[in-house]
């Protein structure tokens, strides 16, 4: 595989040829591998560690048209103290909101956890580059230290990989010091081959994290899709020595699911990636299930919805 310097001008043909040379993904084989990894049985000490780790990896998210400052403030409190009955519970990694609610979020969490903002005409990505860059800059100025952008899926599916690449480069620049997560929207890419290609475009273009989904399209994160992204991250590390993070977002609702993803990370890229700096869950309801399971492990009896906060 030839190495493309992310800062050198990328030719359309060069990028096309590079992507065509990536190994294909056999869908049946990949799905079988993902399922098999999901059968790893985690017990006792490992399970508590896994749940605590998973909590610390959550980007607690609200991305609704109906979001208000009040809603965001409540979620941010929960992000800091997911279980008010047990203050030893770890905080989550970040809160994730629309750009115009970043200031509110920051006012609650100050600098104790990350504030991630979605930008670039999230979720569709259908707007001019200028609009996308402005979206980004405003969010960063308001206090976001992480930006979750969307790639242009229309450009990708029509084969205009250079456009996808150049937009990511431009957004990365607009981020300044903020970390960039690049959402591939795998539910629209459809094939695992596309997921692999999109992962490489994003990594070569300067992403700090590659992220599965906006959560607005089904299917969102799945084990096979995440497996392929982790393999891309692993191969990129082999080639460049650079570690890129992976965020699985949308559709992960239970602790059991979350643990399967941790197993996936562990056996694909290795335990170095089992940290919020390199793996995140984009979720809302997952956090409550993690807290419930944590309570069960620590108290010895099953817990119930009255013992976790709604937000």
């Amino acid at each position: 595989m030839s190495s493309l310097d992310a800062h050198a001008p990328v030719t359309h043909k060069g990028l096309h040829a590079f992507l065509a040379g990536l190994p294909g993904v056999d869908q049946v084989g990949a799905e079988a591998r993902a399922t098999a990894l999901g059968t790893r049985s985690i017990k006792k000490d490992s399970k508590l560690w896994a749940i605590n780790t998973a909590i610390s990896m959550v980007d607690l998210t609200t991305l609704e048209g109906a979001d208000t400052p009040g809603k965001v403030r409540a979620m941010c409190s929960k992000a800091l103290h997911p279980d008010p009955t047990d203050m030893t519970t770890p905080s989550v990694a970040a809160v994730c909101v629309y750009g115009d609610l970043v200031e509110t979020a920051r006012s609650v969490v100050s600098d104790r956890i990350h504030v991630a903002a979605v930008a670039t005409a999230f979720p569709s990505g259908r707007a001019s580059l200028e609009v996308k860059l402005l979206d980004t800059k405003e969010a960063v100025a308001a206090g976001a230290d992480e930006i979750d952008m969307v790639i242009d899926r229309g450009a990708f599916l029509s084969g205009n990989f250079s456009k996808v690449f150049e937009e990511i480069v431009a957004v990365k620049e607009a981020c300044g010091p903020a970390h960039l997560k690049v959402i591939l929207e795998t539910g629209e890419l459809k094939t695992l081959d596309n997921v692999r290609k999109a992962s490489w475009v994003a990594m070569k273009a300067g992403a700090d994290f590659i992220k599965t989904s906006t959560g607005k399209v089904a299917p969102a994160a799945t084990l096979p899709v995440t497996l392929v992204m982790l393999e891309a991250v692993r191969d990129y590390f082999q080639e460049t020595g650079i570690r890129i993070g992976v965020k699985a977002a949308g559709g992960i609702r239970t602790s059991k699911d979350a643990i399967k993803y941790l197993v996936l990370v562990n056996e694909t890229v290795g335990e170095d990636w089992l940290t919020p700096d390199l793996f995140r869950f984009g979720a809302s309801t997952l956090l409550n299930d993690l807290v419930l399971q944590r309570q069960r492990m620590l108290t010895g009896h099953y817990s119930g919805p009255d013992y976790v906060t709604i937000d």
């Binding site: 056999d26 869908q27 049946v28 084989g29 094939t191 695992l192």
Partner: protein, 291 residues
């Protein structure tokens, strides 16, 4: 024997048919063949184990291209054999009468049945894989199909009687399925086999695809049964149970497929597909169904 014009007959030398050619036995031996009354008919080449060895080499070489011929092509070749046989009907009738001592009517019946049998198998060439091959409905996202493939080189013993029909019933299914064959013709009634080999030589059969040896099966077959480059045995003409057993034991040395002699066979009746199955291997292929 003098014909009605008192013209001296030009007698045939009956040689082996190996690699598409008619060599004598490397041993130089011949055996005397008599008619049903004991009168001299011909000196026929008596194959040795070295001839058998050469025949295996010729058969294996021909197998490379014959096994890759399309089914349609194989059907065409078999049909051409039938065409050529038809042209030699009188010669076959004569051969059978003299060697088996049957009436002209019976000999004609056997000749016609033999030609029709060849035609029957010719018509099977592009169909049998649709009958004994298929897709398999496996429970998973896989495309799975089973196809019959030729086993390779078959060593066969043709039955004494019916001398032509038995030979054709043995050879046709082996060859139709893409195999090569080395046939030991009937020791007592070899003449029709030799005429048959002349038909093969003048049709479109690849040299070496079908090899016909005249000789003593008790001498030659053990060598073929033990030969590591022979894949299967057809013991149709082996009526001696001691020899049959000896050959089956030798076959175990390389796990050859063995088709035993049928009991009280009726070669005139329409065959089943058992000979087709006996000399084909079922290959099953799996492939995932995914985007």
């Amino acid at each position: 024997m003098m014909n009605s014009n008192d013209r001296l007959e030009v007698r045939k030398t009956h040689k082996l048919f190996i690699g598409g050619a008619f060599p004598r036995s490397e041993s130089g031996r011949t055996t005397e063949v008599t008619d049903h009354e004991g009168a001299f008919l011909a000196n026929v080449a008596m194959a040795s184990r070295k001839d058998a060895r050469e025949a295996v080499i010729a058969a294996r070489t021909a197998f490379a291209s014959w096994s890759r011929a399309t089914a349609y092509n194989r059907g065409q070749v078999l049909y051409r054999i039938a065409e050529v046989m038809e042209g030699r009907t009188d010669q076959f009738v004569n051969d059978i009468q003299r060697t088996e001592g049957v009436s002209k009517k019976k000999a004609t019946g056997q000749t016609q049945a033999s030609i029709d049998r060849m035609v029957w198998y010719a018509g099977w060439a592009d169909k049998y894989s649709q009958v004994i091959g298929n897709t398999n409905p496996v429970s998973g996202p896989f495309f799975n199909f089973s196809i019959p493939e030729p086993t390779g080189v078959v060593a066969a013993v043709a039955p004494d009687k019916p001398s032509l029909l038995g030979l054709v019933s043995v050879v046709a299914p082996i060859v139709m399925t893409g195999n090569s064959v080395i046939v030991i013709a009937s020791n007592s009634n070899p003449i029709p086999a030799i005429t048959f080999s002349e038909c093969l030589a003048t049709s479109d059969v690849i040299g070496g695809n079908i090899n016909i040896l005249t000789g003593d099966p008790t001498e030659i077959m053990p060598w073929l049964a033990a030969h590591a480059d022979v894949n299967a045995l057809d013991l149709t003409g082996v009526t001696d149970p001691t020899l049959a057993k000896e050959l089956e034991v030798a076959a175990a040395g390389t796990v050859k497929r063995v088709r035993s002699a049928p009991i009280n066979p009726d070669f005139e009746a329409t065959p089943t597909l058992s000979r087709v199955r006996a000399f084909t291997e079922i290959k099953t292929v799996w492939h995932p169904l995914g985007v």
